[in-house]
């Protein structure tokens, strides 16, 4: 901990001390399990394989677009996804119709896959209340800002499904940093005790803002923490969409059969900053980033698809065009929204506005009129 920034590990070989809790480095990539198959997988349809890739490309383009919009001052703080596309596509796509997603601020990709509108994600980061609206039939929870606090919600959602005998599994997403919060513990314990139909899906992107996972916990893996709650945990290569998909699919199947929860730790890396307010060069090295970039989840899966004969240049161009079209439309929705209405502050705070808030709303209306009329 006494190392200065410029003494940070500069080679991945030096970055292999995850088991020593005084180390500064990220996970040793040799610990990443799984090994991409060379022949076309049999358990997943070609269409789904293509879909994986297409969605990952979409999320990446989406993410980059949002970063540009943010830099142009058209969004507020934004938490980028780049590098974690396989985690989000693999997990969300393994969910069945009616399953419930409980995401964090970094899970826009998964949210959109589960039906949350692209334009709403934009509106959300654009600071618009409209971005909070959840369409009917979409079983996605609002993205959680306070770390780990969504995990007890997920437990409750899963519990409700169990009590109502719904065929519904809840997938809760969270980061490596979340494992240090009390709410992680309490939710895991509820899941174990009540045998809840849910999957704890941890995107271990090696850092919680600046803190490497080696200082977040003294265990070697996060997956092993499941044992403390009487259920099983598993590590997967979060850069491999297929590995993520299979692990989550199986865990959901297990949960749906009444066999209880699973913790999945997906090893991944965020390529960008924690949020647009963050400067990752303060705590990470270029070399470390470059080494993770070599295993880019989107690029590498694209190559595999091509090897398997499931993807080519024409498709790539076509899809890229569609993606850009989709993004342009979403941005247009955002930009075309009428100006935010101040009195919307009062909407949906209660099912019915109590008298005092009605009076406050009226006062605000007056204030707005005054300010706009230049009256004082």
């Amino acid at each position: 901990m006494s190392k200065k920034v410029d003494e940070a590990p500069t080679k991945m070989d030096e970055a292999s001390s995850m088991t020593q809790n005084t180390g500064d480095s990220t996970v040793n990539k040799e610990q990443i399990p799984a090994n991409p198959e060379t022949s076309v997988p049999q358990d997943v349809s070609p269409e789904l394989l293509q879909f994986f890739y297409k969605q990952m490309v979409f999320i990446r383009e989406f993410d980059r677009r949002l970063l540009r919009l943010q830099r142009a001052g058209r969004l507020g703080t934004y938490a980028p996804v780049e590098g974690q596309e396989a985690c989000q596509v693999g997990s969300a796509q393994a969910m069945r119709e009616g399953d419930f997603l409980v995401p964090t601020y970094r899970d826009s990709g998964a949210m959109m896959l589960r039906g949350f509108p692209v334009s709403s994600v934009l509106l959300y980061w654009n600071g618009r209340l409209e971005g909070l609206q959840i369409p009917a039939g979409v079983s996605v929870f609002p993205l959680a800002i306070p770390i780990a606090s969504q995990l007890p919600h997920a437990a409750g959602i899963a519990w409700a499904a169990k009590l109502q005998h719904k065929d519904q599994v809840t997938l809760a997403m969270f980061g490596d940093g979340a494992t240090s919060e009390g709410d992680f513990h309490e939710a895991m314990n509820f899941a174990g005790v009540f045998q809840l139909p849910m999957v704890f899906f941890c995107e271990n992107n090696q850092y919680a803002i600046s803190l490497p996972v080696s200082r977040q916990t003294a265990t070697e893996t996060l997956a092993e923490k499941a044992a403390a709650y009487g259920f099983s945990g598993q590590r997967v290569d979060g850069g491999d969409v297929l590995a993520v998909y299979r692990a989550v699919r199986d865990a959901i199947a297990k949960a749906a059969m009444g066999q209880g929860p699973t913790l999945i730790e997906a090893l991944t890396y965020r390529y960008g900053a924690h949020t647009t307010s963050d400067d990752p060069t303060k705590y990470r090295t270029e070399e470390e980033l470059a080494s993770w970039r070599q295993q880019d989840p989107v690029v590498s899966f694209g190559s595999r698809l091509r090897q398997w004969g499931l993807w080519g240049d024409a498709q790539e161009q076509q899809w890229q065009a569609q993606v850009q079209e989709k993004l342009i439309q979403a941005v247009a929705v955002m930009e075309g929204s009428p100006p935010a209405r101040p009195t919307d502050l009062f909407e949906h705070v209660y099912a019915q506005l109590p008298p005092r808030l009605r009076a406050q709303k009226a006062a605000l209306e007056k204030e707005v009129a005054q300010a706009r009329g230049g009256v004082q």
């Binding site: 929870f141 606090s149 919600h153 437990a155 409750g156």
Partner: protein
């Protein structure tokens, strides 16, 4: 009709709610087999089964957070926090989630849930079992805070809270859980949220209070009326947020004098808000300063001094005298 204590009325309300709506589920520490440390859930697990009256792990954030998910996914959870002082480990769930989930989902996930917790002191309990910190919740937009003062209201307000589409913090005055009985109908009935009760009509001064202190204050009021010949109006707020401004202002317009009595510590207890609002809305009516009678601004002590921490009869008398002879 039967004569019930307040805790029996709570239990009766819970029975009615479990009967009326199979989405209702009780959860918390020791609420099941044990029937609750105050016996508020006695017999309910036997009657409704362990899926509807659930003993949870010792985990307040888990209980409250899981209730968010239960409510969002079709249930009507009624979590119990064993004593109000033990809601603190779950405070984030209350103020960052329970209070805001309807808003955060712009109406998609309303949370019909009732957090029950015994509050207030003077039962010779250990430290942290005697908190009157309703102000934390009253200051939090999105919550509705209720505190009954008698068995009849306890049942009716609790059923109204369970029916309510938004989360309610339901504070039960444990000092009077068994202090007296009133007639409580066996049938399902509700007492409206947001409405104060005019306990006693009077002309000279308005006294506003809630929870445990309603009955104690009424005694002081009777005594002062006898001794001094003053005519005192007594309001029981019943709902602490949103509180019934209309009832309070109307009374103050009439009397021109007001005393608010609370068991919470003085600084920023609810009496401060009432004083501020009365000052804003009724300044020209006031013949004396709005006077607050409260616990001192120190932690609730170990029990031998607790009767000196909470408003004593003497302190209430002093407060009323101060405004009467101003």
């Amino acid at each position: 009709m039967s004569q019930l204590t307040l805790v029996q009325a709570v239990q009766d309300a819970l029975r009615c709610a479990l009967d009326a709506d199979n989405r209702v589920i009780l959860l918390g520490e020791d609420v099941g087999r044990n029937g609750g440390v105050f016996r508020a859930t006695e017999g309910l697990q036997e009657r409704f089964g362990a899926d509807r009256v659930v003993d949870t792990p010792l985990s307040e954030s888990g209980i409250l957070g899981a209730s968010v998910g239960l409510a969002a996914n079709g249930m009507r959870p009624v979590p119990e926090i064993q004593f109000l002082g033990f809601i603190y480990p779950g405070f984030q769930q209350v103020v960052a989630h329970i209070a805001r989930m309807r808003w955060r989902s712009q109406g998609h996930y309303g949370l019909p849930m009732v957090v029950r917790a015994p509050f207030g002191g003077r039962i010779r309990a250990p430290e942290l079992h005697s908190e009157s910190t309703e102000a934390y919740f009253i200051h939090t937009p999105g919550l509705t805070v209720v505190a009954p003062s008698n068995p009849y209201d306890a049942k009716g307000l609790l059923l109204a809270s369970i029916e309510f589409p938004d989360p309610v913090i339901f504070l039960e005055p444990m000092r009077i859980y068994r202090a007296f009985r009133t007639e409580v109908p066996e049938a399902y009935y509700t007492v409206p949220l947001g409405k104060a009760e005019l306990v006693k009509v009077g002309e000279d001064v308005t006294v506003v209070t809630w929870g445990t202190l309603v009955r104690e204050t009424l005694e002081v009021v009777h005594q002062l009326e006898r001794d001094k010949g003053w005519s005192i109006e007594l309001l029981d707020l019943r709902t602490l947020s949103p509180w019934d401004e209309e009832a309070v202002f109307n009374s103050v317009h009439k009397t021109g004098r007001v005393v608010v009595v609370q068991e919470a510590t003085l600084q920023l207890g609810l009496a401060a808000e009432i004083a501020a609002r009365v000052g804003e809305e009724c300044l020209l009516d006031l013949e004396a300063p709005v006077t607050r009678v409260a616990s001192w601004d120190v932690p609730p002590p170990l029990f031998q001094l607790e009767d000196w921490h909470a408003p004593t009869a003497q302190r209430i008398v002093n407060g009323i005298e101060r405004v009467m002879i101003y």
